[in-house]
């Protein structure tokens, strides 16, 4: 180092050191963010799922034929890419991805893209959040013993590694330890009330989330319509009766009795752990939670595979399979041995799931490769009853409202030309996380009932039109997409096309070009910025933007 250098360094030392440290940390974080945290697990070639996909397609065709409905026409592949991106990554595809997809001229490109998308960290992160809703709800809860964030990170890691689903579930139900060190135990600590594990809450959550059954009413009385009795509920709750919160986290205290108090007589009685059906599948050894976990995930407990098939279907299409077909909610499935409602579709997906190592990624690939996932959401049926029948038999892609995270994820992605993922600038990601949460709160979170059909509301429309976040995102600047498209796409036609691709993942129609191009004509600088901003505003507020179609 030269003398001058030394002088400078001495003078600037107080400034330079923190600056360098800051820079180094930023570089490190950026570097860490660029490197996938683990090696990617190959999820098999495109061919391995073909026989199952064929059987699924045949089943659908049979149903269509029996019901005498004509299926919708196939959708445009770019639109299918949009659906996939929304379902698996929670946002529309970026312009960068659209260009890469369009340049991919090889066969099976959609199937290969699904494989690629499943390897992307965005899938694990997004899907973990969606699944976590049914496992631990949406509330952040009491921070002291419940860390939802750690639970979601853990789940994301399991999904990324393609950990078998039955293993994931057993770990959630039966693990011991601290909610920080063993994040899967947060499934149990989510139900801690005033230091006590609430066995009732866990019992109802377990059958709802993992077996697609609602027996909550039986907590207080025998189920008025179904077969569940209060005794069955209490037996199930008793499976969590040994779980305790201790200094080392969740632990089972063997031989601790589960005592319930009768609400009316205030009489106390001890309840033994029991399960409400298929008692023969309950192992005889082990602690109560462990036995429960093995019973829930037992290969012959078909409710287990059916429930997850119905839920994954719901996350892919926005509506559970049974919801449209039978009017049954995602977690309100009939007894698999009930001949009146044999749900062939769920059994098909379920058995393929079981026979292939309970791989969630494989199940998603099968559903995404089905003819149905690639059908148009438009159908020639004009009568309401006719259209509803077509929908009921899954002969058209259902239109569903996007979740608030998907809307905001799409707005954020649309405001950038590059893909926002783990390879993007750390700052952008931080902003993304903060803004998403803020928006989701204000937009109204449907919570655990997210798969119910819901229409949009006036406050939501007001938020999209006048809210702070959309306003900031569409205001043209040097870094966001509206500013860059306005500045760099000198040809009006290209400018308009880019605005459409970035937001709606499609090109403008002839009518749209005719109507919208005149505003851009001869504009530049600030005026052009404003024309593009006003286009973005309309694109953000279009029905197409906030509905899956």
């Amino acid at each position: 180092m030269t003398k001058t250098g030394q002088v400078i360094s001495v003078k600037l030392k107080p400034v330079l050191i923190p600056a360098c440290v800051g820079l180094a940390v930023m570089c490190l974080v950026a570097w860490a963010a660029r490197i996938p945290t683990s090696t990617e697990v190959p999820v098999g070639s495109v061919k391995d799922i073909q026989p199952t996909v064929q059987r699924l397609n045949t089943l659908l065709k049979m149903e269509w034929r029996t019901a005498k409905v004509i299926p919708a026409k196939p959708a445009d592949e770019l639109l299918v890419l949009r659906r996939l991106s929304l379902a698996l990554h929670g946002s529309v595809p970026s312009l960068e991805e659209i260009r890469a997809f369009e340049n991919d001229t090889g066969g099976d490109r959609l199937d290969r893209w699904v494989n690629q998308m499943l390897k992307d960290r965005r899938f694990a992160d997004y899907f973990a959040e969606r699944l976590a809703r049914s496992f631990v709800g949406v509330d952040a809860g009491q921070f002291v013993v419940f860390r939802r964030d750690l639970f979601v990170n853990w789940l994301s890691e399991q999904l990324h590694e393609n950990q078998p689903y039955d293993v994931i579930v057993r770990e959630m139900i039966a693990s011991d330890g601290l909610w920080t060190g063993r994040p899967e135990t947060n499934f149990v600590t989510a139900a801690v009330m005033e230091g006590e594990v609430d066995a009732n809450q866990l019992a109802s959550r377990t059958v709802r989330a993992f077996l697609g059954q609602r027996i909550d009413c039986a907590q207080c009385h025998d189920h008025p319509f179904d077969d569940w009795t209060q005794a069955q509920f209490q037996g199930l709750a008793a499976c969590y009766g040994e779980a305790e919160l201790s200094l080392v986290g969740i632990q089972d205290q063997r031989n601790k009795s589960f005592i319930v108090e009768d609400r009316m007589t205030l009489e106390e009685k001890t309840i033994e752990p029991a399960v409400p059906f298929h008692a023969e599948l309950l192992p005889e050894t082990g602690d109560a939670r462990n036995r429960l976990a093995r019973w829930v995930t037992h290969g012959r407990n078909r409710r287990f595979e059916r429930a997850i098939a119905n839920r994954v279907w719901g996350l892919m299409f926005g509506r559970a399979y049974t919801d449209l077909r039978y009017g049954l909610a995602v977690d309100d499935l009939p007894d698999p041995n009930d001949d009146k409602t044999p749900i062939a579709m769920l059994d098909l997906l379920g058995s393929d799931f079981r026979k292939n190592g309970y791989s969630l990624k494989r199940m998603i690939r099968v559903i995404a490769a089905s003819d149905l996932f690639r059908l148009s959401s438009a159908h020639e049926a004009v009568e309401t009853s006719q259209f509803e029948k077509v929908e009921q038999y899954w002969a058209v892609f259902p239109m569903t409202r996007l979740r608030p995270e998907q809307v905001v994820g799409s707005m954020l992605q649309s405001s950038s030309l590059q893909t926002i993922d783990q390879n993007s600038n750390v700052l952008i990601r931080a902003v993304r996380i903060l803004r998403e949460n803020d928006f989701v709160k204000e937009f109204g979170d449907p919570g655990e009932t997210e798969l119910d059909e819901q229409a949009g509301t006036i406050p939501q429309a007001l938020m999209r039109m006048n809210g702070r976040l959309p306003h900031e995102l569409l205001e043209a600047n040097l870094f966001n997409s509206s500013g860059r498209i306005a500045g760099y796409a000198k040809e009006d036609d290209v400018c308009l096309e880019n605005c459409f691709l970035v937001t709606l993942t499609r090109r403008p129609t002839v009518e749209e070009r005719d109507a919208l191009l005149p505003d851009l004509q001869g504009t530049q600088d600030k005026v052009r910025d404003q024309v593009v901003e006003d286009l973005y505003w309309a694109l953000f507020n279009a029905w197409e933007f906030s509905w899956n179609h």
């Binding site: 959401s377 239109m399 006036i458 039109m465 306003h471 006003d534």
Partner: protein, 444 residues
């Protein structure tokens, strides 16, 4: 009628109060005209201001009926409100005071209401079969016991549906103050879900456009162009999304003069103080302003009644909020000649047990709980039913079913409870399957 629409030239000297406002508006804000024209183009002509006088200018009997529900979330105790039994083993420390209504005593924690309650009536023998918060709330709000296969509409949604007001540019069904079970449109449609405002009286967020009118018009024009494209083959599901209607309604609302009904800044400080500087107090004042503007049904929620422990101190605290707000609301409605057209109902999902539990609390009690109801042409000064002061007898004397109360309110609004609406699959459902309570309805 056509000639006086704001998007056409005024042709005569007929000047009605609201057209005056509109004329002024059209000069200073040309976009309002354009916006209305845009709305008209989308088939929203029903929402354009017509010739009729705004509801705000009507008084007394000429006004169609509205409903204000004061919702006691959690289930208020009848014994600490409208049915005290001091000096008995179930009464606890709660004292009673006389009211202006001869023979009616209420809990001593309601001195202001004691001066007003004679304008309303009290039922002390409501019975329900739902002892769970959600099921109870849904039953009391809809008049039908919850059914897993069908979501029934709340009373407010039924009124908004059956008594539409063409001049109203803000939602006809509003819920103020939040709460876990907001009133819903049920099978009548999500557009009849209550418009929810968590913090009433504070500026409603996102109510104003972020760009000047000229650009806003361009934005709307763009939106109209883009919205046309996806229609073919998707008419039915697109209509079901309500996206278009919701956007149109939001736009009308943004431009509406009636928005001021949500704002209490213009109200005198003295009046605001009388209602009480609480979320509930402000909610009651906003409710009055909304009803005055023509809103059909408003719910104001007061949380905190679920006193399984420390029932008495909890209820005293609640009374400090409810008493001034409720009493001032009645007085305010009367002084503006609005009480004859506004039904006021104060109710929760159930009452609380006569038995006091070891934690000095009271638990859920759906048999023999109380409500206060009146205004809107209902008889005042009526006292219905009686509960056992010893708490031994579960059933009250002269029980009133919750659905009977709903049927009576519908009747007071000139609706026949037996009239049917249709569910999405065409199943006919009566507005209410209850029977009217004759003592509450005037003999005509």
């Amino acid at each position: 009628m056509e000639s006086l629409r704001p998007d056409s030239k005024p042709t005569g000297d007929k000047v009605l109060p609201h057209t005056k406002v509109l004329k002024k508006e059209t000069v200073s804000h040309p976009s309002r005209r354009d916006g209305l024209r845009f709305a008209a183009g989308l088939g929203l002509s029903f929402a354009l201001p017509g010739l009729d006088l705004f509801a705000a200018n009507k008084r007394g009997n000429e006004r169609p009926k509205s409903l204000i529900t004061l919702w006691m979330q959690g289930g208020s105790s009848q014994l600490e409100t409208w049915d005290p039994h001091p000096g008995t083993k179930v009464g606890g420390p709660t004292q009673a005071i006389a009211t202006k209504q001869k023979g009616l005593e209420i809990a001593a924690t309601y001195p202001q209401l004691a001066e007003q309650i004679h304008h309303l009536s009290v039922i002390r023998s409501l019975i329900s079969k739902e002892g769970d918060h959600e099921r109870g709330a849904r039953y009391v709000k809809t008049g039908y016991r919850p059914d897993t296969t069908l979501e029934y509409p709340a009373l407010g949604a039924i009124l908004a549906h059956e008594m539409p007001d063409e001049d109203l540019e803000i939602p006809a069904h509003v819920a103020l103050g939040g709460g876990p079970f907001p009133p819903r449109g049920g099978f009548l449609g999500a557009e009849l879900d209550a418009f929810k405002i968590f913090n009433p009286g504070q500026n409603i967020r996102n109510m104003r456009s972020r760009v000047p009118d000229k650009r806003q018009d361009r934005r709307l024009k763009n939106l109209e162009v883009i919205s046309r494209t996806m229609k073919p083959g998707r008419r039915i599901p697109t209509n079901r999304t309500l996206h278009q209607q919701v956007v149109e309604k939001a736009l009308l609302m943004m431009r509406s003069e009636q928005l001021k009904a949500f704002d209490i800044e213009v109200e005198p400080e003295e009046l605001k103080a009388r209602y009480g500087d609480t979320r509930f107090g402000r909610g009651c004042l906003v409710a009055r302003r909304l009803v005055e503007e023509g809103v059909r049904a408003v719910e104001v929620m007061l949380d905190g009644w679920d006193t399984h422990a420390e029932n008495f101190s909890g209820h005293t605290e609640q009374a400090g909020i409810l008493d001034p707000a409720f009493a001032t609301l009645i007085d305010d409605l009367r002084s503006r000649d609005l009480l004859d057209s506004t039904i006021v109902l104060c109710i929760g999902e159930f009452g609380r047990t006569p038995r006091i539990n070891p934690l000095e609390g009271r638990d859920h009690w759906p048999t023999g709980f109380s409500c206060v109801v009146g205004g809107g042409g209902l008889n005042s000064g009526v006292l219905l039913g009686e509960t056992d002061p010893t708490g031994d007898k579960k059933a009250p004397a002269r029980p009133v079913k919750v659905n009977d109360l709903i049927a009576t309110i519908l009747t007071a609004c000139s609706l026949n409870p037996a009239n049917e609406t249709y569910t999405r699959i065409g199943r006919p459902i009566a507005l209410s399957d209850g029977e009217i309570i004759p003592q509450l309805l005037p003999t005509s």
